[in-house]
Symmetry: C2
Subunit: 143 residues, 2 copies
């Protein structure tokens, strides 16, 4: 199968018509689900504005719009834990984006491969951690 | 492994303390990602309020809060295409829920197994449909 994302390193190749077909919300955002292209694990959820999607297409690396920081963010910009884009999908309503990626090291800033490392267990007082840390956040983010 | 969701058929078993640890937004909602427990396919994204989560826990079937209809909705209530809960996870921030399910027939109201049946392909004028319909929506929803 040919790669529908190639060539990625040319801004002019982002298909504006396809982006026009997405339904951004009143704040100009769409939810983004990031999934591991290798094992199918859901890695994280974030938001994208149109510029984040364009930068993602141009660079081949996931960019998000950080609502808390109010700006575009390259995923992995501090840690080096980039997400290399393998496939981009949208849903029936065109208002959610799903990106399958090759994840460098781990997606979660708390050191876990996936942000979804806590499981509902009604017998406990806390959500149960079910994964192992892949890195020490204190070391990675203090660099 | 014991099932951390059992017994599900007892409202009093929903662990209110665990639900209190989730961060619902200003509208009382959290985004929900539904994933096929068997093959890892991301099936859909929706929203839950606290009541939707409680009903999901009580019944073992995914309930969502429909923003367009302004009410609680049992997934599959019209089609019979229920989502049986296998595992419930939350993310590092506790503001997104991921539920792994056993999907009956298909998740998408357009007849596809997953709502994410359209792929970004910059060579085309439309997002490219990459899945086969599992049912005919006209037949299922006209019942």
């Amino acid at each position: 199968m040919t790669n529908p994302l190639l060539p990625l390193n040319n801004a002019s190749m982002a298909n504006a018509g396809l982006l026009d077909q997405l339904k951004f919300d009143s704040k100009g955002l769409v939810p983004l689900i990031v999934q591991d292209a290798v094992n199918g694990q859901v890695l994280m959820m974030a938001y994208m504005n149109r510029e984040a999607l364009e930068k993602t297409l141009d660079s081949g690396k996931v960019h998000t719009y950080s609502r808390s920081r109010g700006r575009l963010a390259l995923k992995g910009e501090s840690s080096g834990h980039f997400q290399h884009v393998k496939e981009i999908l949208t849903d029936c309503d065109g208002d959610v984006v799903l990106i399958k990626v090759e994840q460098v090291v781990a997606a979660c800033h708390e050191g876990y491969r996936s942000c979804f490392f806590r499981q509902y267990d009604e017998r406990g007082g806390q959500w149960k951690t079910i994964a192992e840390r892949q890195f020490d956040p204190d070391k990675v983010y203090s660099k």
